[in-house]
């Protein structure tokens, strides 16, 4: 934070809480005050049961929602409005369905004032990097789920953001495609090591990708209940790393923390339903 402690973290949440007014005017506190630092060049994953408010926290880091209390700073500067230094990969389809793959990627450069011709050239190069060069002229509906994610990834990365925010981006994909996309992400990340904040409910995915895995409690008034350093060597292969003895140990430890929260989340969901 301060100059003497070295570089400010890419994302820093201080006492951030998120609360909503629900229908009858009551206050629903989704996330109680939490602190979180994502240092530059590091890959942090947050895992938690469904509905624990992990996406909400990510949206606060993105500037899409304002926290109810606390502050968000980006490289030491307080965040006001949308986080311009971050790219966001959404869980659901965020591509513009009326634009071809290449136009979807090229349009991301328009706010930066890049000329159309140059934008298209760079978009083409970017599509090539994600392995979709031959699909440039297809519309999103002509692409598979994995291909759409690649386009979305290209759209996010072409702006070269210093921070990547990812909200269960591979959630809707099938198991094989997730492995391929995970490896692609790690490969791209290795070249320029952006700060990544990755939200998932899949513990295997979190351990395989991240440097650090944070476990979130079941909501409401969710908070962090565990913080684990993942010391698996890089480069990693998502499919291979799962057979590593160290992976197994980490998984067991983190799961012990996560399991209680998952059962609490289910118990609460049942309570609501009853």
């Amino acid at each position: 934070m301060t100059p003497e402690t070295g570089r400010a973290p890419a994302v820093s949440l201080r006492g951030v809480s998120i609360a909503y007014r629900v229908g009858d005017g009551a206050r629903y506190e989704a996330v109680r005050p939490v602190d979180l630092d994502v240092p530059d060049q590091s890959f942090v994953a947050i895992v938690g049961p469904t509905g624990c408010g992990k996406s909400t926290l990510l949206n606060a880091a993105a500037g899409l929602i304002a926290p109810s209390s606390g502050s968000v700073s980006i490289f030491g500067e307080p965040l006001a409005g949308v986080n311009r230094r971050a790219g966001y990969l959404f869980q659901l389809d965020a591509l513009m369905p009326w634009k071809t793959a290449i136009d979807n990627v090229a349009v991301a450069l328009e706010p930066m004032g890049v000329r159309r011709g140059e934008a298209r050239e760079r978009a083409h190069a970017m599509l090539k990097r994600v392995g979709l060069a031959s699909f440039a002229d297809r519309y999103p509906h002509m692409l598979s789920g994995g291909q759409k994610k690649r386009v979305a990834l290209a759209q996010t990365l072409i702006r070269d953001p210093k921070i990547l925010l990812m909200d269960e981006p591979f959630g809707p994909l099938d198991a094989q495609t997730r492995v391929i996309m995970g490896n692609l992400l790690l490969e791209l990340w290795a070249t320029d090591r952006k700060a990544v904040l990755f939200i998932t409910h899949d513990l295997d995915e979190a351990i395989a990708l991240a440097d650090r895995v944070i476990v979130m409690a079941a909501g409401p008034r969710s908070h962090f209940v565990g913080d684990f350093r993942i010391d698996l060597p890089r480069p990693r292969d998502i499919a291979e790393v799962r057979h590593d003895k160290r992976f197994f140990d980490l998984h067991r430890d983190i799961w012990a923390a996560l399991r209680d929260e998952v059962s609490r989340a289910y118990a609460q969901a049942d309570g609501v339903a009853a």
């Binding site: 949308v82 965020a94 513009m96 634009k99 706010p111």
Partner: protein
């Protein structure tokens, strides 16, 4: 099992022929010293009347008038509908204020406005355009209004994260979304533009297909009425086919509009 195309086509032709034959015999039933032709006309008479109308060339002028009225009503109604739909979708206060008035205006059967439009705009083309406009406008308006308000939240959030300003948001997100909804109502709105034109002509005019049918009715010329109806039907089908072609080209990015290639 799905019936084969050849079978369907054969049965369709057979059905049509059966109808015409039934019509032919019904028309020739004798009642006293006359036949029922006075009431029913007859398929062959109608056919020859159509041929005569085209060979004498008078019909082209009427078709051109109706076509013009349809196009004007469609274009003006669509432009106004898109603009208003857009403006109100982006301005919740204005939308809330306008809501009861729009609902009331749309609830009114537009045909009753035809005499008013004639009073204001005369018996020429523009009173028909106004009637068509009053029909097209609301269809396009409601579609665009809905379309702009229902742009998926994820696409909007993504656009914000990409750093789009208001102008870019309009150009790349809202505008294409609005157009999509306008095009999805294209068939309906073109159809209503035509209804406005023909009904307007029918109620008072000096030219057009609706006028032609009305004239024939005035002199109890059933053959003329049926000939006019046949031409009008063909006219509508051709315009509808044109709309389909345009739609295919414009909505190429939509799943049903395009064939995937490998």
């Amino acid at each position: 099992m799905k019936p084969s195309r050849a079978l369907v086509l054969a049965l369709q032709i057979l059905f049509g022929v059966a109808l015409l034959v039934a019509w032919h015999f019904a028309a020739n039933i004798r009642v006293g010293s006359a036949t029922l032709k006075f009431f029913l006309s007859a398929p062959l008479d109608v056919f020859w009347r159509v041929v005569k109308l085209f060979s004498e060339g008078e019909i082209w002028g009427h078709m051109w008038i109706t076509f013009q009225e349809t196009v004007y009503a469609f274009v003006l109604g669509s432009v106004a509908g898109v603009l208003c739909g857009f403006a109100l979708a982006r301005n919740p206060l204005a939308a809330a204020v306008a809501d009861p008035y729009l609902k009331a205006a749309n609830a009114l059967p537009r045909v009753v406005l035809a005499p008013i439009f004639m009073l204001w705009l005369g018996l020429g083309v523009w009173s028909k355009v106004a009637l068509g406009f009053s029909l097209v406008f609301f269809i396009v308006f409601f579609n665009v209004f809905q379309g702009v308000r229902e742009v998926p939240a994820t696409i909007l959030a993504n656009a914000r994260m990409l750093g789009f300003n208001e102008r870019q948001l309009f150009r790349h997100v809202y505008w294409p979304a609005a157009l999509t909804w306008m095009f999805s109502s294209l068939h309906t709105s073109v159809g209503f533009a035509l209804v406005g034109a023909v009904v307007g002509e029918y109620l008072g005019s000096a030219a057009g297909l609706g006028y032609l049918i009305h004239q024939a009715e005035g002199v109890l010329d059933t053959t003329g009425v049926f000939a006019g109806m046949a031409i009008l039907t063909a006219f509508v089908l051709i315009i509808d086919a044109l709309v389909t072609v345009i739609e295919r080209r414009l909505l190429v990015w939509q799943p049903q509009g395009a064939q995937t290639t490998t």
